[in-house]
Amino acid sequence: MALVKLNNRGVRSVTDFGGTTALGTYKFIKKVTASSSSTISFVDGSSSVVLDDTYKEYLFTFKNIHPSANQNFEFNVSIDTGSNYNVAKTTSFFRAQHLEGGSSQVFSYETGDDLAQGTGVARISNLCGTENDMNVSGYLYLFNPSSTTFVKHFMSRVNSTFTSSDATVDLHMAGYANTTSAVDAVQFSFTSGNIDAGDICLYGIN
């Protein structure tokens, strides 16, 4: 097939591009925008949300997640399409931090923010401030949630504006849901109060 040189006019006239589905791609699945919401959930099987064996890897992105109270941004997973969010999880959690004033550079493991077979929420970010410009942004990967053989690994990295101290805090969490049942729903929330604003997008990765 002859190569055709593309120009603006040519691209503007295109009605369809050739398939590239065999390539490794991020496939956008769903965007949810918080509006003073207590929880945000992604449940497989409705409203165009897919969280099954269609993809071996899923990515959640967090943009400007703003809390109504100074609290921790957290998540949990379900194996019964969201009826219960109570799967046992073991996680690790560490942070790097720097204050606006140039002091208090810290790199530390956070023993109070991890889980050891906890069935409650797993912490993604610790205390985010509520000032109008404060928020949490970042991402969480969930690997092969539909496996009935393996535990389900996940890892997140977010940056947060730390409560009342004008600090940037780079937060790393990783762990696994200790189940060989398929995980088919994920829920996000703050320890208390609401998710006032912000977007969470879900992508599948081939």
């Binding site: 509006s35 003073s36 207590s38 959930s41």
Partner: protein
């Protein structure tokens, strides 16, 4: 104000039971916060302000290094650090 879940982008109001459970959780959390953060506001500030552990240990070693009695008391610690300093001099 009535709370809601946002499930796949669709608002789902809390049930009465969920409202009660959430209220109880918030009350318990507030009580815990009051006990810790509000009663001791310096905890979070100190956590952010302390020097890194390595810097703290370095200060400790130099304090020990300036005191003969402490050098003897914490001999192993002092000598272990001193050996590294001797191996890689400034």
């Amino acid at each position: 104000m009535a709370r809601h879940h946002l499930i796949n982008g669709i608002k789902v109001p809390f049930t009465a039971q969920e409202e009660a459970d959430w209220d109880a959780n918030e009350a318990a959390h507030a009580a815990k916060q009051k006990k810790t953060v509000e009663a001791k506001p310096y905890i979070a500030k100190r956590k952010l302000a302390y020097p890194q552990i390595g810097d703290q240990l370095d200060m400790l070693w130099h304090s020990i290094d300036q005191d003969t009695a402490l050098k003897s008391k914490y001999f192993s610690f002092h000598q272990a650090i001193l050996a590294v300093k001797a191996k890689y001099p400034k």
